[in-house]
């Protein structure tokens, strides 16, 4: 058994760093669940969860990248190790088998892993092409409108082009339209009212910064517009007093 090279020590050090980060973020999630009352907002839970998940990914990458080295390493106590005072840690370090509790976790994780990637899909390759069952459809319908709304709210509506399209250059966008679309940033849509005789165009739904709701920009085109003959005042007057205009 040779001594570790500088390189290998660095790898071990890196693994340690990542594990420390993971335990830290797990610890902070647990602490925030235990201590904050009321519970932290779901956005903060969500972001903590994603931090943890990133940490897990980096740990897992590190472990699988250095698999050869790590599986060949053997720990043994050096002569200067304080075996008497640190007996517990020593035992932990010298274990060759996993803790029974940890073994359970590992077994559960493996089972879950084989379930999701494993036989169920392989045995039925057509599963992906089957139409959804009624229950699944119902579930989808329940999920979709909320999700679509969320997605819609995230965007700044208005104008004829998306931000992605604008960044890529609007000349390249294939609109399939004969008329030229202006890139007007969704401000003055309603000015084009008199131009074409379509029915009603919802020409834009946009959200003002800071406002939670949408605004509908409607250009009220109509083939046969009929303006009211009786002004609002007279209608209200009749409704109030019954006097005919």
């Amino acid at each position: 058994m040779s001594n570790l090279t500088q390189e290998q020590i660095k790898v071990l050090e890196q693994s340690r760093q990542r594990l420390v980060q993971l335990t830290r973020s797990l610890g902070s999630l647990i602490a925030s669940l235990n201590q904050s009352d009321p519970l932290p907002p779901w956005t903060s839970l969500q972001s903590q969860a994603s931090i943890i998940s990133n940490n897990l990914i980096s740990v897992s990458d590190q472990l699988s990248d250095q698999r050869d080295l790590l599986s060949n390493l053997v720990a043994y106590p050096g002569p200067e190790y304080p075996g008497r005072t640190q007996a517990n840690t020593l035992e932990q370090l010298l274990r060759t088998k996993l803790d029974p509790r940890v073994e359970d976790w590992v077994a559960r994780g493996r089972a879950a892993g084989t379930e999701s990637t494993g036989p169920s899909n392989f045995s039925d390759p057509d599963a992906a092409y089957k139409p959804l069952s009624d229950a699944q459809l119902a579930e989808l319908w329940e999920w979709a409108p909320l999700e679509a709304n969320q997605e819609a709210r995230r965007r700044n509506w208005g104008g004829n082009f998306t931000l992605e399209e604008r960044e890529a250059g609007i000349e390249n966008v294939v609109t399939g339209l004969r008329r030229q679309l202006e890139d007007d940033d969704g401000e003055e849509e309603s000015e084009g009212e008199e131009e074409d005789g379509e029915e009603m165009d919802v020409v834009g739904v946009h959200r003002k910064p800071g406002a939670a709701e949408f605004e509908y920009n409607i250009a009220p085109h109509h083939p046969h517009p009929v303006q009211p003959f009786v002004p609002l005042d007279l209608i209200l007057r009749y409704m109030t007093t019954g006097r005919m205009p």
Binding site: Q227, L234, T240, T241
Partner: protein
């Protein structure tokens, strides 16, 4: 109570689209309503005003208040009764007396055939003051009050209170609710014939025979908030701000505005 409202005139060709837009905005299906509205006008009962006798037992303050009530402004007021589409053009139910003579009064009205029974029509008295003048905020704000009346013929009771029947019409429309704002898109229907009857109708003609008050069929959009405590400036302000918010949201579809104060003048001259 105070009612704060904004109005807009909606041409008939825009009605369908606006319904859809409102349904989308409020995330609810429109609630169709039909209402009979009877207009009553207060009149001064002879001998009531300025009566001085028999007032010794009244406190000075009470007396003043009473005099103010008796001699103050007189108002038009409305009696509103919800009706359903099946009430129109239906026949009167079998006379109750006949039914009782047949000894089967335990059975309620024969509900299988649609019938409109004026005697069982629920009514609500709705009073609206003339909108407040010179308010800084650009909404129509007016004092209002409503009270449930006994079912059936209200004319007698109203006469006893010093009101006489002027005319009646039907309001047809759809109701939406957005948070604390009620949105009512409605129009006025006239009874066919147009004869100014001196009493509310006991029978309703078929709905399709009703004529439009506004010949083009345009609608009135009213967005309103009722504030319980009109003296609370804070809630009044919040209510008008909510209405302005709605106006912003709808501004490209319809323009909600303060109504002309005098067109909502309920004072009887």
């Amino acid at each position: 109570m105070h009612e704060q409202s904004l109005f807009a005139s909606v041409p008939v060709h825009q009605h369908h689209e606006l319904l859809q837009q409102l349904a989308g905005l409020t995330a609810m299906q429109p609630r169709h309503c039909l209402e009979r509205r009877l207009i009553f006008k207060a009149y001064r009962k002879p001998g009531m005003a300025g009566r001085i006798g028999a007032s010794q037992d009244l406190q000075q303050g009470d007396l003043q208040r009473l005099n103010k009530m008796l001699n103050g402004n007189m108002y038009y007021t409305q009696v509103v009764g919800p009706v359903s589409e099946s009430d129109f053009g239906s026949t009167a139910p079998i006379d109750r007396d006949t039914q009782m003579a047949g000894m089967d009064d335990s059975k309620p009205y024969d509900s299988s055939s649609p019938s409109y029974d004026y005697e069982r029509q629920p009514w609500k008295l709705e009073f609206r003051d003339i909108p407040e003048a010179g308010t800084r905020s650009a909404v129509t704000s007016r004092l209002m009050s409503s009270a449930t009346l006994p079912r059936g013929d209200v004319v007698e009771a109203m006469n006893a209170w010093g009101y006489h029947f002027i005319t009646e019409y039907v309001v047809e429309g759809d109701m939406f609710v957005l948070n604390d704002i009620a949105i009512f898109l409605h129009r006025v229907l006239h009874y066919p014939g147009g004869d100014e009857s001196s009493l509310p109708r006991r029978q309703l003609p078929a709905l399709k025979d009703m004529t439009l008050f506004e010949k083009s069929g345009s609608y009135v959009l009213q967005a309103f908030i009722i504030v319980q405590d009109g003296s609370n400036q804070e809630t009044m302000k919040t209510a008008s701000q909510h209405l302005f918010g709605l106006r912003e949201q709808l501004k490209s579809a319809v323009l909600l505005e303060q109504a002309d104060r005098l067109s909502l003048d309920t004072r009887a001259k």
